[in-house]
């Protein structure tokens, strides 16, 4: 029989927001109805590339415990909407991926199992920064699965030709110029072979770009602001990025696009966040600041066309601060009693090195268990890629978004960030407005 809450959610989805919901994909997959039986658990994630790794992991789990696990991938664009609808109608998967920007909302509403009650051994092997991200109200609300930091991919052919050492790049908004801007000019070319600042340089015919300054919270905005001494959120988890340091760093990053002309137009990158990654794989972008989540795409996209490597991210006056983010697997606290034992077994398994190792051996991401991380490094070193810089980046970090509805806050602030990058708003005007809009959305 349908519960009143489930009925309300189902009807609300068709009626309350019917005009929009009618246009959105169905949420029929990923819930608790995928091939379920008494000894089958459901697991949901948003990354298709991680699915084979979990299949391998769950095969061992099934042999060990007898519990089967049905995996469902819901694409990122639909993940949070679908999850909210499914949680609201008690149809959520038994175990599912969660990020720091969304977990508080689910935790505060009593939908997540407290991992402190489930996993008692081996927790000291989990990456501490990820554990910290998901520790709240005296509990730990997810089993760390993978983490990412930020570093600088570089096209070795282009940097060598320009005589640039990517590991030496620094920025300083207060200085008249700096290593990043100098390197940017040397690495940017128009159709006539001219660099920015040369007489007759035409930015509309650029054939080669230097750097991916764009409205990317994790890879660009977060590191630039933190590396200039700005704080993203205060102790109350409200946005506080519109400080003098934040405004200076943001304006600097936007000026790389509009004044220095060493980064692609925000008209391209606002619409397509992967535009710069594609330019990099095509050999048209020299420096691409991003995370290990792009290693696979870059390795496959570049192939043998040019030599590339990974350097530390661009450092600022306060150092080179990488946003560190981690994904956890959470247990559905509202699952039926017949599933509780299986969910706890699965969470315990997912917290072990054996449970996470396929994420590393298949080159998906850095596993959050210290004993499994080497597998990821070995996988990529076997392909000639040194990913050590991502580990080094964890020595100097700035946290990812946290707090209830921080995803909604970021969604509200992002259009204003994009306006600054496109040059229609100054950071001095835009950043306070973005802070206010973000805080209002999170309230």
């Amino acid at each position: 029989m349908l519960s009143r809450r489930r009925l309300l959610t189902a009807l609300a989805a068709t009626g309350a927001v019917g005009t929009a919901a009618a246009c959105s994909p169905s949420s029929s997959n990923g819930g608790g109805d995928d091939g379920e039986d008494a000894k089958t658990l459901t697991f949901r994630l948003w990354d298709e590339t991680a699915k084979p790794a979990y299949e391998e992991s769950f095969q061992a789990f099934t042999e060990k415990t007898g519990w089967k696990v049905a995996i469902t991938v819901v694409p990122w664009d639909e993940y949070w909407k679908t999850l909210s609808l499914d949680v609201g109608s008690s149809e959520a998967a038994d175990v599912y991926w969660m990020n720091s920007a969304n977990f508080v909302q689910f935790q505060e509403s009593g939908n997540l199992m407290n991992i402190n009650d489930v996993v008692t051994e081996g927790r000291d092997k989990w990456v501490k920064s990820v554990v910290d991200l998901y520790t709240r109200d005296g509990g730990l609300w997810g089993v760390p699965q993978l983490w990412d930091s930020i570093a600088l991919y570089y096209n070795k052919n282009l940097t060598d030709a320009a005589g640039i050492d990517p590991a030496s790049l620094r920025f300083d908004p207060a200085a008249p110029t700096d290593a990043l801007r100098d390197a940017g000019r040397a690495l940017t070319l128009d159709q006539g072979g001219k660099h920015p600042g040369d007489e007759g340089f035409d930015p509309n015919t650029r054939t080669q770009f230097a750097f991916n300054a764009q409205a990317d919270r994790q890879a660009i905005i977060g590191p630039f602001l933190a590396s200039n001494g700005a704080q993203w959120q205060d102790a109350d988890e409200k946005y506080s990025f519109a400080s003098a340091e934040g405004i200076a760093a943001f304006q600097y990053a936007a000026d790389l696009v509009n004044v220095q002309q060493i980064a692609p137009s925000a008209a391209d990158t606002n619409e397509n966040g992967d535009f710069t990654r594609d330019l990099f794989t095509q050999g048209k972008l020299a420096l691409f600041q991003s995370g290990p989540y792009n290693v696979k795409n870059i390795a496959e996209g570049v192939g043998d066309t040019f030599a590339w490597g990974i350097a530390p991210l661009v450092a600022g006056p306060a150092g080179g601060k990488s946003v560190i983010h981690g994904v956890v697997a959470v247990g559905n606290a509202r699952a039926g009693d017949e599933k509780k034992e299986g969910i706890q077994e699965l969470l315990r398994w997912l917290g072990t090195a054996d449970g996470q190792r396929p994420l590393g051996t298949q080159g998906v991401a850095f596993p959050a268990h210290a004993d499994a991380q080497g597998a990821f490094v070995e996988h990529w070193s076997g392909k000639g890629v040194d990913v050590q810089q991502f580990i080094t980046a964890t020595n100097d970090t700035t946290p990812a978004d946290r707090g209830a509805k921080s995803n909604a806050g970021l969604e509200a602030a992002m259009p204003i960030f994009q306006e600054i990058f496109i040059g229609r708003l100054s950071a001095a005007d835009g950043l306070p407005a973005a802070q206010e809009a973000g805080n209002e959305a999170m309230a």
Binding site: L11, A16, G18, T19, S24, E271, N272
Partner: protein
Amino acid sequence: MIRTRPLTAYLLVAPSLLGVTAFLILPVVLAFAVSLMQWDLIGAPTFVGLDNYAALLEGGSLGNSLLVTAVFTLISVPVTLALGLLLATQLVRALPGSALVRVIVVIPWVCAPLAIGVVWTWIFQPSTGALNALIGHRIEWLTSPTLALPAVAFVAIWQNVGYVSLFFQAGLSRIPDSIYEAAELDGAGPWRRLVSMTIPLLRPTTFFLAVTQVVASFQVFDTIYALTGGGPQHRTEVIAALIYSEGFTAFRLGRASAAAVILFVILVVITVVQQRWFAKRITYDMS
């Protein structure tokens, strides 16, 4: 004399009535109920009275969305109807290739709006898009606050003009040739025949298309979602996009429902006004 059998009649309409109740009336009632609550889908809803309506009206986002929707409607509907009529007048003449053209112009309407939106984002792309390559200038179609809405309206027009022309072709085929022959004998030229005969005789078709196109333009979402996501600067955030954003980005189901209720009221008012306006006009009987 045919005797009515109420029970049989009720049984016959029951499936339809059930569907309308379950999928239209009940959700509308529930949307109103949810509009009086604060609810993020995950936690329990709490009653907040008219706070959601007040927040929408005070915040300015609803006013902006209504304005964007109105401008979008004013651009897209008249142009779609005019181009649809023009196209129909040519296609109904059964010129060589007309059948093929009839099929081609309807294809955009048959395609999934979301897919069309994605394809047009590639075409409009500033650096690598086909349109800029064709005209030889770099124009930021979808990220310019002044060009984004006209660009979006253009796609909507392109998508719907074939569908509209189908109805006009059907309407035109019902007008007897003898009327045009008589007019020609009286010295009426092509323009005079169009204005004084074709357009008045097509009034029922035009009424139907005007109502459905206005309603559809107030509900447009997927194409805009794919093209601009409501940006830049909320310049293409039509009311359906606002509802989606409030509901599934901010997870404020109450506010999303309040906006949906307001949209519902607006559509009812527009439909009634259109109906009365057209009802006052003369409709010619061609039978």
